[in-house]
């Protein structure tokens, strides 16, 4: 092994150290040493010179400490000098004999004790010099800089508000790409800058809040915290508070009536809780731990007391401690109260969605089993009253269990709507447009799994509405419309789907322009005669969107075709209604996968099917006269003056029915997305709430069937999709 290089490098350090001014640190030289030590550590590592590696590593830690003013410079340099000499000796040993016979332990101990002295007391260790640097000079600066503060304050208010506005926009980006470090950094920076200036201007409240938010983001950047919607909401709330505080400064400056002081305690508390969420377990601390933390007892006493209270006769830890006089009743009650506090602090828990899915599946199995027991002929023949009673009790408990477990995963669309409203506000502010948001049907429930899935398509539609749909205020006035536009978000259940509408009262789609563009892009030929509806749908085609559409707000030039694809991937449907000059409405509907639906059980021949009740308008048995059949055309039924096409379920599914004549069978009037039809079935068996079960990958795309469900008797029934049935009927 060749130790000469190592030796040479150490000697070089020693000689440059000789010329160093020992009273004061010279940063550039210290930097050189750090790099050299790093190099030495690496070299020693590959050569297997353990003591050299250890010593060099420790010396660079010492030097870092000196640089950070965590250790007195003179004292640190004294130690450093001795360390270098020792390092030379160790390297000598390796050079001559391939090993070092002495020990570096004594010196390492000294080093550790020097670095561990009071200055190490700062818990984080990372901020050693910060408190000293912040406290005294800051206060000093206050008096001196008062005069210049005035104009600086003004600048700070303007620029600060601008910067925080930037935060809000970047957060929306982050929301879509939570892993993108650039976005986190873009949000981090403004907080950081605001904090920096606030510290100079002695704006303590602002500085502290900005600092807390910055710390939170730093953790997110270092992946110590996950970027969850909750975290994003918290950051938004934080930036709102910050904005309000700066706004108050401005009011103050402009001599306006002082508003009530903004209370930051709640937001600061939430930030702290969120921060802890990363490295602290959620479960409440044990009583003993609290007492140890409070200094009432020490760790050893706790262990002893725990053992004694577990030994028979077993008692609670608190009782043991009090009876043995180790803690006063007051200490124990206080600790207990503190413990209870922790529990109430978190009255919601987060559960992995997988666990919920498993639970819901198992409950499904339970329902089947329960239903099998209920229908067991053997049990029925017993004629035992008690068993009958017990079984019906079991039945009501299982159904309650099923209901409550299914609901666990359903959440109102409200939260999504709120985020959308916020998005509209931010987008409109940025583009100089005035837009109101109206939401309808916020309580419509949707499966938690779907919420995340539909989010991105919705964001794009909203962006589209604000970006391209809304006019500038002056254009709106010119068009005789109110200056302020409206975007209406509406959610409701229809035909077993959740329908989300985004309606704006903007300029609407321009038929002329769309046709021109579509012709230019080769999507249609100039001779095509298209209905308005067809024209509108053109913008959903791939290849329609071009780079022209990119604005600084939309960011990426994602076209509507991508949105449509995303919607379709969720087995959803998308449509556009538009009136030129009066606005555009995007209508999307998504299936409520894995949700409960209210189903009507119908029978055709020997088969049973479930029809979503929401899609059913009427159940009728028509007169013979209401039935019309024109040869070569579809069969129709006159339902209260409306002629509706007749769809024979038995024909679609190729089953031998009991009744073929509508006036002898039962007709279900079903409503699809745009049209209604009469479905011919043999009879209605009843109504039941069923849990939709996925049919699995291979059967997923069967037309007319949206899923399966376990019926009350334990058998499986297929859930029919009205829209799919209609399409089947139309193509036949």
């Amino acid at each position: 092994m060749d130790y000469t290089e190592l030796r040479r490098e150490i000697d070089e350090m020693a000689s440059s150290f000789l010329f160093l001014e020992k009273k004061e640190i010279e940063i550039p030289l210290a930097g050189q040493f750090l790099n050299q030590l790093e190099d030495v550590t690496k070299r020693a590592g590959t050569l297997g010179a353990a003591e050299v590696k250890r010593l060099a590593g420790a010396l660079s830690q010492l030097l870092e400490k000196v640089i950070l003013e965590g250790v007195d410079t003179e004292k640190g340099y004294g130690l450093f000098e001795r360390g270098i000499v020792l390092l030379q000796a160790v390297a000598d040993g390796y050079c001559n004999a391939g090993r070092y016979d002495g020990s570096v332990d004594g010196f390492m101990g000294e080093l550790a004790s020097c670095m561990g002295t009071p200055l190490e007391a700062e818990p984080s260790g990372a901020q050693t010099a910060a408190p000293a640097a912040e406290a005294s000079p800051g206060a000093e600066a206050a008096g001196k800089d008062r005069v210049q503060d005035e104009s600086l304050l003004k600048d700070f208010i303007t620029e600060g508000l601008e910067y925080i506005g930037e935060i809000e926009l970047n957060i929306l980006n982050l929301e879509q790409e939570p892993d993108n470090k650039d976005y986190i950094n873009a949000i981090f920076r403004p907080f950081h800058s605001v904090k920096g200036v606030a510290s100079f201007l002695n704006l303590d409240g602002i500085r502290t809040l900005a600092h807390d938010l910055e710390t939170l983001l730093d953790k997110a950047r270092n992946e110590a915290l996950a970027v969850t919607p909750e975290l994003i909401d918290l950051i938004l709330d934080g930036s709102d508070t910050l904005k309000a505080m700066i706004g108050q400064l401005r009011d103050d400056q402009e001599g306006r009536e002082a508003t009530e002081l903004i209370d930051t305690s709640d937001i600061v508390r939430r930030i702290k809780l969120a921060e802890q969420g990363a490295d602290l377990p959620k479960e409440p601390k044990k009583l003993g731990t609290i007492l140890v933390e409070e200094g009432v007892i020490n760790e050893d006493e706790l262990q002893g007391a725990l053992e004694r209270s577990q030994a028979p006769p077993s008692r609670k830890l608190g009782q043991t401690l009090i009876s043995e006089g180790m803690a006063s009743p007051k200490d124990v009650t206080r600790a207990l109260r503190k413990q209870a506090q922790q529990v109430t602090d978190s009255n919601t828990i987060r559960v992995d969605i997988k666990k919920l899915d498993d639970l819901i599946d198992m409950v499904g199995e339970l329902v089947i089993t329960q239903s099998m027991i209920r229908q067991s002929e053997t049990l029925k023949s017993l004629g035992d009253r008690k068993i009958v009673r017990d079984i019906s009790l079991l039945e009501s408990i299982t159904s309650e269990l099923q209901r409550s477990s299914t609901v666990l995963r359903m959440i109102p669309i409200k939260q999504t709507f709120q985020r959308m409203s916020r998005l509209v506000r931010d987008l409109s502010k940025n583009s100089g447009k005035l837009v109101n948001v109206v939401t309808v049907g916020e309580d419509t429930e949707i499966d938690r799994n779907m919420v995340d899935e539909i989010y991105n398509p919705l964001v794009h539609m909203i962006r589209n509405a604000v970006d391209h749909g809304m006019e500038m205020p002056e254009d709106r006035i010119k068009a005789g419309k109110p200056e302020r536009g409206t975007i209406k978000l509406r959610a409701f259940h229809r035909g077993g789907n959740i329908v989300l509408e985004i309606a704006d009262d903007g300029r609407g789609l321009n038929r002329e322009k769309i046709c021109q563009k579509a012709i230019k892009n080769g999507l249609i030929s100039p001779t095509d005669a298209l209905t308005d509806q067809e024209v509108n749908r053109l913008i959903l085609l791939p290849g329609f969107s071009t780079a022209e559409k990119i604005t600084d707000v939309s960011g990426r030039g994602v076209g509507m075709d991508v949105v449509k694809q995303a919607v379709e991937k969720l087995r959803g449907k998308m449509d556009i209604q538009s009136t030129e000059g009066a606005g555009t409405t995007f209508v999307t509907s998504f299936p409520l996968t894995m949700a409960i639906i209210d189903g009507m059980i119908v029978k055709v021949g020997s088969e049973r099917y479930i029809l979503p009740t929401v899609a059913i308008r009427q159940l009728i048995r028509p007169d013979r006269a209401a039935y019309n059949c024109i040869v070569g055309e579809a069969e129709t039924i006159n339902v209260m003056g409306r002629l509706l096409p007749l769809v024979r379920l038995h024909t679609l599914f190729d089953i031998e029915p009991v009744n073929r004549n509508p006036w002898e069978a039962t007709l279900v009037v079903m409503e699809g997305e745009k049209r209604s039809k009469c479905l011919l079935v043999d009879e209605i068996l009843g109504k039941e709430e069923v849990v939709i079960k996925n049919l699995g990958e291979s059967l997923k795309r069967i037309k007319g069937v949206s899923g399966g469900a376990i019926l009350g008797d334990g058998n499986v029934g297929l859930i029919l999709d009205p829209e799919g049935l209609f399409e089947m009927a139309e193509t036949n």
Binding site: E24, E26, I27, P28, A30, G31, L34, N35, E38, E64, I67, L68, E69, G125, A126, Q127, T128, A129, A130, A133, E134, P137, G138, E140, A141, K144, D145, Q148, L152, D155, F156, E159, G160, Y163, A186, F188, R189, H192, S193, V194, K195, G196, V197, S199, F200, L201
Partner: protein
């Protein structure tokens, strides 16, 4: 030896108010020959095109951070001797050590007074002259 107060100092910070704060503090110390840049990239352009004697740079900036600027300066044949004072928000160990290793002349922690700033500048300029 008194430090020459007419040296040209370049302040690099993305926050305009912060640049003004530093400018004011420098003025109190008697330094009035000041230029500003809003990020590392802009600063580097100025350094390459104008005579500058001293750089005071923020750590966290878009486009080109303070550390990147420092590295670029130290790697540049003409600029590698440039006195470079890094401004950081806290004495964050990792940041400072990284800056020191990259060859920073000194660092200063926000908030600071005109006196501390003055001291740091003098210390750097003197050690450069020595």
């Amino acid at each position: 030896m008194d430090v020459n107060k007419t040296i040209k100092i370049l302040i690099v910070d993305d926050f305009a108010t912060m640049r003004k704060v530093i400018r004011n503090l420098l003025k109190q110390g008697g330094f009035e020959n000041v230029a500003e840049a809003e990020d590392g990239a802009a600063a580097f352009k100025i350094l390459k095109s104008q005579p500058v004697d001293f750089v005071i740079s923020d750590w966290n900036m878009p486009n080109m951070s303070g550390l990147e600027l420092l590295k670029a300066v130290r790697a540049d044949e003409e600029l590698k001797e440039m006195p470079f004072l890094m401004v950081t928000a806290e004495a964050l160990k990792d940041n400072i050590v990284a800056a020191v290793k990259a060859g920073v002349s000194n660092y200063i922690v926000k908030p600071f007074t005109a006196e501390v700033l003055n001291e740091k500048i003098e210390k750097i300029v003197k050690s450069m002259a020595a």
